[in-house]
């Protein structure tokens, strides 16, 4: 590694001009307008951050755009951003991902010369130059033995020794050898076996950082909170490598959208005022981020009691959020969209053995059987599909194919939870458990 300090920004999953999903109030025009250009805005902020921090290069570790979108705006924004970085003398290492494969990158005409497209599956290790000096090297990090990975043109060293060559950046592929997304064990294996200083992880990793002696693996996570699973501050990472090899990683929040899932527990003693106060306090406790323009808050209220029951009324949700929005200081000037999810208590009444206990304590044998079967199922979705495939005719019906494709998009745990809640609703009431003929 050079004695000079090295700075770069690492971003993954920017998905320029890709559109957000799981928006509860997508009909509101103000929210819609704010969300339409969320990913583009995040991309602009990344470019501006590169210039402001005077970084040496920008590393895009996959899914910079979504080729399936066929978005012209994305191409134009990417080209413009790269030209801006070219004017500032900043190099760009663009790694194709699942959404932006190599042909898609190659189809973008007029990319400036500061952009290096690095496909970890085919490209040889490459050097990042600045003013005729090698700043860093980029190499693929595949499922290879330590011997092969160390023969990258630089002498290999074991962990703990000081390096002689430039800072080495490894690129992890989006899929491991078994065709599945790489696990943390994969990453740790790559990190320990490869002679690299920094391993850039792509999506579908969330924001993660795995540190080993003298080396670190990092994924900045999605740059924009586009899906319902992207909670918390989102953005890119500013990587600063000191002369003594110390690597510091800081979050650069660039996402204009912030999603938060806020859990509240209510009981028989809870009141509407307490609930509103609690919600306001939770909103105030959210750390303010300048880049955030839209707050998408999912309130998950769990419990029982009068207040919980009253929230099931048709207009209760609207009234609750109307009351919450009376205090405009809580959203800190951002557009806030709220969504309410009501969850019953997990605890089921135990099977009554004492005759003196009330009827409410008796669990329906139907419910017991239902939950027993539910607990036995590893995946309800797979079970449904396998059952349908067993009785389906050949060729498969269009809906069966569609449902199979949907199986990869749905949250299997949510399906199980939904079935559990429904089952409890259906059979959680009165029972004639003692009924025997």
């Amino acid at each position: 590694m050079n004695s000079n300090r090295l700075t770069f920004i690492h971003a993954a999953g920017v998905l320029v001009d890709h559109q957000a999903r799981d928006i509860a109030a997508s009909g509101e025009e103000e929210l819609r307008t704010a969300l339409l250009d969320a990913a583009g805005s995040a991309w602009q902020q990344i470019i501006e951050a590169c210039v402001v921090h005077d970084v040496d290069f920008l590393l895009l570790s996959g899914d910079t755009f979504c080729e399936a979108d066929r978005s012209l705006r994305a191409r134009a924004a990417i080209r413009t951003g790269f030209e801006c970085l070219a004017d500032a003398g900043i190099q760009v290492i663009a790694v194709p991902g699942c959404s932006d494969p190599t042909p898609a990158w190659q189809a973008i005409s007029g990319l400036p010369e500061n952009v290096t497209l690095f496909d970890p599956l085919v490209d040889e290790p490459t050097a990042i130059m600045k003013h005729g000096e090698v700043l860093a090297s980029v190499q693929a990090c595949l499922d290879a033995s330590p011997e092969t990975t160390s023969s990258d043109g630089w002498p290999g060293e074991s962990a703990g020794q000081s390096r002689i060559g430039p800072f080495r950046v490894g690129i992890a592929p989006a899929f491991s050898a078994d065709g599945l997304p790489p696990s943390q064990q994969h990453v740790e294996q790559w990190l320990s076996k490869s002679s690299i200083d920094y391993l850039a992880l792509p999506r579908p990793f969330r924001r993660i950082q795995i540190v080993q002696p003298d080396r670190v693996a990092h994924c900045p996570g999605p740059a924009v909170a586009l899906t319902g699973a992207d909670f918390g501050p989102m953005g890119a990472s500013l990587i600063q490598v000191e002369a003594n090899n110390a690597v510091s990683i800081d979050l650069l929040p660039v996402s204009p959208v912030r999603r938060e899932r806020l859990n509240i527990r209510v009981d028989h003693t809870s009141t509407g005022e307490l609930l509103i106060g609690c919600m306001r306090q939770m909103m105030r406790d959210l750390k303010a981020i300048d880049s955030v323009q839209v707050l998408l808050l999912e309130w998950r209220i769990k419990g029982d009691g009068e207040l919980y029951d009253s929230l099931h009324a048709p207009d209760a949700e609207a009234e609750l959020f109307e009351l919450l929005n009376v205090d405009t200081s809580v959203d800190q000037g951002r557009f806030a969209s709220h969504q309410l999810t009501l969850l019953p208590l997990d605890e089921l009444p135990e099977t009554g053995t004492d005759d003196s206990e009330s009827d409410e304590a008796v669990v329906s044998p139907i419910l017991s059987g239902f939950l027993e079967r539910l607990n036995r199922e590893p995946s309800l979705v797979r079970s449904v599909l396998s059952r349908h495939s067993a009785v389906a005719s050949e060729p498969a019906t269009p809906w069966f194919q569609r449902l199979e494709s949907l199986a990869s998009r749905v949250d299997h745990s949510s399906v199980a939870e939904m079935a559990r809640v429904r089952g409890t609703e259906w059979f959680g009431g009165e029972s004639d458990q003692g009924y025997e003929r």
Binding site: Q19, L36, E273, L374, R437
Partner: protein, 1075 residues
């Protein structure tokens, strides 16, 4: 009840038919087709339940004037009864009964409608018809098992609450699932959303061509940018060429001039010392001298005239003395005018604002005045403080109301339940609740005993009456008619006579014949004695038997009366107690339970006089339920009491806080000078009005102050003007209008200034003229000296000679000047393009016409290139605009946004669908399990019968949950619906179910004969044997069975198993043949 004999007086094809029936076993009746087997079956049912109108339409025999009718002799316990029914119009016949004993006659018959119902144990006709009397038709039809009363035993009782809930939920889940998606019908919300996504995809697909177009545009844009660069380079080259030719054209003329001027200069003489401009100077000097001399004279005259004019101008000395001060006053005129205007304006504004203030004061009320307004503090600090107090006050108010509402709700519920408990406690008295429950249960038990004893008493009384009548009949009515005794006597006498004849003849003539006669006589007598002994002995034995049975009955009746006597007082006391307890209308009632239905059943079996015991049982059960509920309420009350107390304390605290806040709020209002009110909005509104009024008051004060100040200044100013007027000795002027005075003074000052200026000017002019005239003398002398010096330097003595030499010199200067100018021109041309170099030979060979032609050509080319560049820029601009339009088109992004939201919805719906589909299948599995574990006991019992009847082929009968259909599992694991079974198997299934039902009724105390009409005709040999064995097994369980058949082999099969077969008599002969 068991049948002992069937006697048909007249019914259908039968008349005078008398059939004995084995009461303890199986009776097989054989007869050919149309022998009247089915008629007999209908007859038995008709006697028990009444003749149906259909029976009258059947073929009849015998005397049509005689009514329908007949009797059956039945055994009920130890007694035998003759139940007789005679057909009547518009009714089901008159039923009578009488005991079967020796003494009973037709006169002993009594109407026995209730008795006949008791004999069939209140089993309805439908049940009897479908279960106990079965023909081949009934056995082949499932519908005969689906009558409500029958099906109730087979199907509906299997559900229970959980089963019904499961069954209902399956339907609801499937409906909910199909509402989201029905894959087969391609309907549902998921399908609709999917179609919306498809529609958006189609719209997005249209943008695929746009992307190609965009790439083309980008390429085209690059091409045009390259074209522009090329054109600009070409334009630059042409411009360079054009510039060269232009340069040549410009440089050629100056170069020619320089060359000509240099040649002429070489020809002129050189005069280096000749004074430059000498000739003109001389001429100028001479003319100047003449002019100066005339001028000096004119100046002297002018100076004298001016001095005279200046002396004529005069001024007012006092006005001139105070002119600076007066000017100072005049300079302040605009300011004073503004002050006057300002004062007037302020007065107007103040007047207007005061009107508004008065209106606001009227709005605030009579107690509000300007002084009070001034006293109110309307600063932001107090405003913020008031708002904060209002917030606290409002918050506490809301909290107090909320808590009060909750407390009221809980309190009402608490007190309602407490009142219910207290009311029940009052009813119970001082007895402990557990004791009361125990006591009520004991009472219930006693009531049940009483009911049981009542039933027993009724039954024993009935039987006693029957036996008594039977015994009476036996006493009165001899068993055998008199002619029988006559026959017996004749036979005995004949036997004695023949025996005597035999003895005489044996002793006298022939011993053998005598012995034969004697033996014949002995036989006759013996037979007669035996017959008499037989009939009379049976009659006596029966009477003794009846007597002993009657004794036994009386003994049991006595015991029953004693038991009743023991129980009745307790029940009476209970009735009294119950009567004292008025049922509480507010006591919550619950849904009828199984106990209620039991009570109803018990009550239904009792005559009206015994309904009170049933009511008592119901009341006891109600009371028991109320007591148990009271225990639950008491527990609830005890659990909720601390919560209620705690809530009351909290409410009191909150109300106290609220009172403090209200007091603080009111005192704060008073402190701020506002009216005291508890209405926050009213207070805030008043404060707002007061604040605005106070501001108005402040504005009025400010305006009035400004006006006064301005007027003071104007007054002082007017006083000073008046003083100065008096100094100027102008006593008659009007100083109340200072501005008019100032205007007058300003005019006078202007006039004074103008006069003084004019005087000074005239004097100055005079002095100037004088000085100038004195200067002209010296100048004339100087000019003369200059003239002489010039002539000397030009080498001339006269002015003419000097003029000749001056012309030559002038020409030389002119040429030199032209030459310099030409050289400058040439240098200027050269300096325009320093990079341009020209060779002199080119200038020599320069052809202007040719050069002009070249310039024209290049200009033309340049114009063409400029047009091309303009076109190129236009095209570039067009492509840029188009690409920008495409880049900035947000429609695809909006479509993709909508698509993503729809996909989110689809994911949500898919999750719901997967959950519901899994739930639906799981509930279906649960339903199957439930079916297995909750089949009706009738079917479980029928399983065993079917297994035996089918030789083990079929082992399980079950009914799907909530349906009225039957399924059968065979040994191969196949499940078959009833419709899929062979006719023989189906008959075996229905026979098995009926046998199970009969067993069920038998276990419930219902003892009725079973009448089967050729039900085995479709069975194969093996299963027929199994069925006969099963029927025999039934008879061993003390079940009476009447089996009718028209098949000889069946009768034979029964006969082989020791069952006697009765061959039905020929209807015409009416005889009875026993097989």
């Amino acid at each position: 009840m068991k049948l002992e004999r069937i006697h048909v007086e007249r019914f259908g094809a039968w008349q005078g038919l008398d059939l004995p029936v084995d009461p303890a076993g199986l009776s097989v009746f054989y007869g050919p087709n149309e022998a009247g087997k089915t008629t007999l079956m209908r007859f038995v049912r008709g006697v028990l339940y009444g003749f149906s109108p259909d029976d009258s339409g059947r073929p009849v025999t015998g005397d049509s004037s005689r009514p329908w009718g007949g009797s059956v002799q039945v055994q009920q316990g130890p007694d035998s009864l003759l139940l007789r029914r005679i057909g009547q119009e518009n009714s089901r016949g008159l039923v009578t009964a009488r005991p079967v004993d020796e003494g009973s006659t037709a006169d002993d018959e009594y109407e026995a409608g209730a008795l006949s119902a008791a004999l069939v144990s209140n089993v309805s006709e439908t049940v009897f018809d479908n279960i106990f009397t079965v023909g081949l038709h009934e056995l082949q039809e499932l519908a005969t098992l689906e009558a409500d009363e029958v099906a109730e035993h087979i199907y509906s009782l299997s559900l229970g609450l959980d089963g019904q809930q499961l069954l209902d939920q399956i339907g609801e889940v499937e409906a909910a699932r199909d509402e989201i998606l029905d894959p087969d019908a391609d309907t549902g919300r998921l399908a609709d959303t999917w179609q919306e996504v498809t529609a958006i995809d189609r719209q997005l697909e249209q943008y695929a061509g746009v992307r190609k177009r965009y790439e083309q545009l980008v390429v085209e844009r690059g091409n045009w940018e390259d074209t522009i660069v090329e054109l600009k380079e070409r334009q630059y080259g042409l411009e360079q060429q054009f510039h060269g030719h232009e340069y040549m054209k410009l440089a050629h003329d100056p170069w020619c001039k320089v060359r000509d001027y240099e040649r002429e200069l070489e020809k002129l003489p050189s005069l280096p010392d000749f004074p430059a401009q000498g000739l003109s100077n001389l001429q100028q000097l001479q003319s100047e001298l003449a002019a100066i001399r005339g001028r000096r004279k004119a100046l002297r005259d002018e100076a004298r005239q001016l001095k005279a004019h200046a002396e004529k101008i005069e001024f007012d000395p006092e006005f001139r003395r105070y002119a600076p001060a007066l000017q100072a006053f005049v300079d302040q005129r605009e300011w004073i005018a503004e002050l006057i205007e300002l004062a007037d304006h302020a007065d107007n504004q103040a007047e207007e604002l005061r009107g508004q203030l008065n209106q606001r004061l009227m709005e605030l009320g009579d107690e509000w005045s300007e002084e009070r307004l001034q006293a109110v503090d309307i600063s932001h600090t107090t405003g913020g403080c008031l708002t904060r107090r209002a917030g606290e006050y409002r918050s506490l108010d809301a909290r107090s109301r909320n808590l009060k509402r909750k407390y009221r709700r809980l309190s009402v519920k608490f007190h309602r339940r407490q009142e219910q408990v207290l009311r029940l406690r009052q009813q119970v008295g001082e007895t402990a609740i557990d004791d009361a429950i125990k006591q009520t249960r004991e009472e219930l038990s006693q009531l049940e005993d009483l009911s049981r004893l009542r039933i027993r008493e009724t039954e024993l009384t009935q039987r006693k009456i029957g036996l008594t009548r039977q015994l009476q009949r036996m006493k009165i009515d001899p068993t055998l008619p008199q002619w029988v005794y006559a026959v017996f006597s004749a036979m005995a006498i004949t036997g004695i006579v023949i025996g005597l004849i035999g003895a005489v003849s044996g002793l006298t003539s022939n011993g053998v014949a005598g012995m034969a006669y004697a033996l014949l006589g002995a036989c006759c007598y013996g037979l007669t004695w035996a017959l008499r002994k037989h009939f009379e002995g049976g009659f006596e034995q029966a009477r003794r038997h009846l007597q002993s049975e009657l004794d036994e009955l009386e003994k049991r009746l006595e015991e029953t009366h004693m038991s009743l006597a023991h129980v009745a007082p307790m029940i009476s006391s209970l009735r009294v107690g119950e009567a004292n307890q008025q049922s509480d209308p507010e006591t919550p009632t619950e849904a009828p339970t199984q106990a209620d239905s039991l009570i109803r059943q018990v009550a239904a079996t009792r005559p009206a006089s015994e309904q009170s015991e049933a009511d008592l049982v119901r009341e006891c059960l109600d009371r028991l339920r109320e007591l148990e509920q009271m225990v639950a309420y008491e527990q609830w009350v005890e659990e909720k009491r601390p919560a209620l107390i705690e809530m009351r304390h909290r409410l009191r605290d909150v109300q106290r806080d609220f009172g403090v806040a209200r007091q603080s709020w009111c005192s704060h209002l008073v402190e701020q000078g506002l009216d005291e009110t508890v209405d926050i909005d009213e207070a805030m509104t008043q404060r707002d009005v007061v604040g605005r009024s106070a501001l108005l008051l402040q504005q009025i004060g400010g305006l009035e102050g400004d006006a006064q100040h301005a007027r003071r200044i104007v007054g002082r100013f007017r006083k000073r003007i008046e003083e100065f007027g008096h100094r100027l000795q102008r006593w008659d002027d009007d100083y109340s209008a200072p501005l008019d005075i100032l205007d007058e003074w300003e005019e006078e000052l202007t006039r004074l200034a103008e006069a003084r200026r004019e005087q000074r000017r005239l004097r100055r002019e005079a002095r100037v003229r004088k000085r100038e005239s004195s200067k002209y003398g010296a100048r004339i002398r100087r000019l003369m000296a200059q003239q002489d010096a010039i002539l000397v330097r030009g080498g001339a003595v006269s002015l003419d000679e000097f003029a000749e030499r001056a012309k030559l010199l002038e020409r030389r200067f002119e040429l030199q000047e032209h030459l310099d100018r030409a050289k400058q021109e040439l240098a200027a041309v050269a300096s325009t393009d320093q990079a341009m170099a020209i060779v002199e030979s080119d200038l020599v060979d320069y052809d202007a016409q040719q050069n002009e032609q070249c310039l024209m050509t290049i200009r033309q080319e340049l114009d063409d290139v400029a047009v091309d560049i303009e076109d190129a820029f236009e095209n570039l601009g067009r492509f840029r605009r188009e690409t920008e339009l495409l880049e900035n088109d947000s429609t695809p992004a909006r479509l993709r946004f909508d698509r993503e939201q729809l996909l989110s919805q689809i994911s949500g719906l898919a999750e719901e669908w997967f959950a519901l589909d899994w739930s639906a299948h799981t509930l279906e599995d649960l339903r199957i399990d439930f079916e297995k574990n909750h089949q009706p006991p009738i079917l479980s019992r029928a399983n065993e019968y079917l297994q035996r009847l089918s030789g083990g082929r079929y082992h399980n009968i079950w009914t799907p949950l909530g349906q009225r259909s039957l399924c059968v599992d065979d040994i191969d694991g196949n499940t078959l619906m009833v419709g899929n079974l062979s006719s023989g198997t189906r008959e075996q299934l229905f026979l098995a179910i009926r046998l199970a039902l009969i067993e069920h009724f038998s276990n419930a105390g219902v003892e009725l004969p079973v009448v089967l009409d050729d039900v085995l005709v479709n069975f194969d040999h093996e299963r027929t044997v199994a069925a006969i064995e099963e029927l025999l097994r039934q008879t061993r369980r003390n079940q009476q069975i009447l089996f009718f058949t028209c098949h000889q082999h069946l009768a034979e099969m029964f006969r082989q198993r020791g069952v006697s077969t009765v061959t039905l008599p020929d209807r015409r002969a009416g005889d009875l043949l026993a097989g």
